[in-house]
């Protein structure tokens, strides 16, 4: 290839580069600018230190707690599932992807609606409990309902990367381990588990980040009673109209997202979330 032609090919990404600058970099600079200024435009760190206010701190801690819980549940559900699916030796892997992606094609709001129906006080779950002679449980508008909804929403993002990393393990590697004397448990601990770490890490990132930053699920399934950091930020922007405060808290949230990803990446080889697809 001659130099002139190479130049032309790189030029093809020109529109996208302009797009990155205009609609990815610039907006982030805007948020940084709003975050460190007050309504009159002068420099302040108050919007960022506002995270230490009890109401904000409480929301952040609750977000972290629910996101961790959701991630843990997803991991516990998804890992055995991926093992079972892998053991089925499906000829067409796309079938698995299909089964778990299909619910994702339902609009998020309608999936939430379904859980509202199931969990509400006179909903299906409580009707079943009552007909069995058991006491009703208050689930809707509690943290549990929010975790339920998050797990339902994000479970596929945990299953797919783990399943992918598992299906990449050659059967001859498993055979070799058995041949060298490893029993089923040893094969799992020494071969399968270490070789799926990268998938687990992708899954954790892909579940933890949206769970930490979610505000819709907590809004609709928590009934306004479960206040996450996402809800606080949303209210600053849409109700209190304090964009500087909202931006400052967003910066804090971004720091947490970046920190959690860095933390996970230190504990595993590089495999971005996009590798899942």
């Amino acid at each position: 290839m001659n130099f002139k032609f190479q130049f032309k090919r790189q030029f093809l990404s020109g529109p996208y580069m302009a797009w990155i600058v205009g609609f990815i970099i610039l907006p982030i600079l805007m948020i940084l600018y709003y975050g460190i200024t007050d309504s009159s435009g002068s420099f302040t760190l108050q919007n960022i230190t506002a995270i230490t206010e009890p109401i904000h701190m409480k929301a952040l801690l609750l977000s972290l707690k629910l996101a961790l819980l959701c991630t843990a549940i997803c991991l516990l559900l998804a890992y055995p599932l991926a093992m079972i699916l892998n053991g089925l030796h499906l000829k067409r892997q796309s079938f698995v992807v299909f089964i778990f992606m299909l619910p994702m094609w339902m609009n998020l709001m309608l999936r939430i609606l379904a859980w509202q129906l199931l969990l509400s006080n006179n909903g299906i779950l409580n009707t079943v409990l009552e007909s069995l002679g058991l006491a009703k449980v208050q689930l809707l508008n509690t943290s549990s309902a929010v975790v339920f909804g998050m797990v339902y929403d994000f479970l596929p993002f945990m299953i797919l990367p783990i399943y992918n990393s598992m299906s990449r393990i050659g059967s001859d590697v498993i055979d070799a381990a058995k041949d060298l004397g490893a029993n089923t448990l040893q094969v799992f601990l020494k071969i399968i588990l270490p070789l799926t770490v990268s998938g687990v890490i992708s899954g954790i990132i892909m579940v933890f980040v949206p769970a930490l930053t979610s505000f819709v699920i907590s809004d609709l399934l928590g009934g306004g009673k479960v206040l996450l950091i996402g809800n606080v930020i949303e209210q600053e922007f849409m109700q209190s109209m304090d964009w500087n405060m909202g931006s400052g808290l967003s910066i804090v949230l971004m720091v947490f997202v970046i920190a959690s990803m860095a933390f996970m990446n230190v504990h595993g080889n590089e495999e971005g979330g996009a590798a899942v697809w």
Partner: protein, 259 residues
């Protein structure tokens, strides 16, 4: 044997967890009673009132418009960008791919807010701003689907075509394009999926008057549940099922031919 039965049960439980809520919506969409638990006989009236509901239909139309326009444009810009990125040196590649990952990894709420801050400063929120926002998170999916295909494409075949007298454009169309087409297609599909399902980013960039299904439903759900939403769910699920079956069937047939 016990293990096999155990794993079957486990699979069924997860399957039920994923599909039972959807099943409930489908059943309720045909329920004549407004009750959420009692069956009041079969009816199609919720479908009729759904189609007569202008708010739902308008949001539906807007969703389709945004999704299609954003996905098609994102596919074009993203594919071109992928070709350009592939030709770049290591450093430029790393920087661009890093930037590409930002909208994927950043929290949706932050992406939405940051774009809103930009838009309100320079223009008014509306259909165009939603479109731009959708393009911004759609393009990365296209790039990440096309780039691996592009890397797997044999460079020597392309060079051989040039050697045999093909123009770069002709060589691209005849040699590279057939190889990356599946990636372009799956990138387009991902873009459609993401656009259809997006709520957070649309919510912050839409302004008053514009509503996609997600934002319309959000407002409605905060007010209360209407039975028309069940029929909307059933309809959307049916469309998704049909589309995915079609795509799967298509790719399966292609695999069979290739084998």
């Amino acid at each position: 044997m016990v293990k096999k039965i155990g794993s079957r049960i486990y699979l069924s439980v997860i399957f039920l967890f994923l599909y039972f809520p959807i099943l409930v919506l489908i059943v309720l969409s045909f329920n004549d009673s407004k009750s959420r638990v009692a069956w009041g006989g079969f009816t199609g009236k919720w479908y009729i009132s759904m189609f007569q509901d202008t708010a739902i239909m308008r949001a539906f139309a807007t969703t389709i418009q945004i999704t299609l326009v954003a996905s098609v444009l994102a596919t074009i810009i993203g594919t071109l960008a992928a070709i350009g990125i592939q030709a770049m040196r290591r450093r430029g590649k790393a920087i661009l791919l890093g930037a590409t990952n930002i909208p994927l990894l950043n929290a949706d709420i932050v992406t939405g807010i940051s774009m809103m801050l930009l838009f309100v400063r320079f223009t008014k929120l509306g259909f165009m701003t939603v479109l731009i926002a959708h393009l911004t998170f759609d393009i990365p999916y296209v790039i990440l689907n096309v780039l691996p295909r592009l890397n797997a494409t044999s460079k020597s075949a392309y060079e051989a075509a040039l050697d045999l007298g093909a123009t770069p454009l002709y060589a691209f169309y005849k040699i590279v394009w057939p190889d990356i087409r599946p990636g372009v297609f799956s990138g387009f599909l991902m873009a459609v999926t993401m656009s259809l399902d997006d709520f957070s980013i649309t919510y912050f960039t839409k302004g008053a008057g514009v509503n996609t299904l997600s934002t319309m439903l959000y407002t409605e759900l905060r007010k209360g549940i209407r039975p028309e939403m069940y029929s909307l769910s059933t309809l959307l699920f049916g469309i998704a099922l049909l589309l995915l079956l079609l795509i799967n069937f298509r790719s399966a047939r292609k695999n069979d031919i290739n084998n």
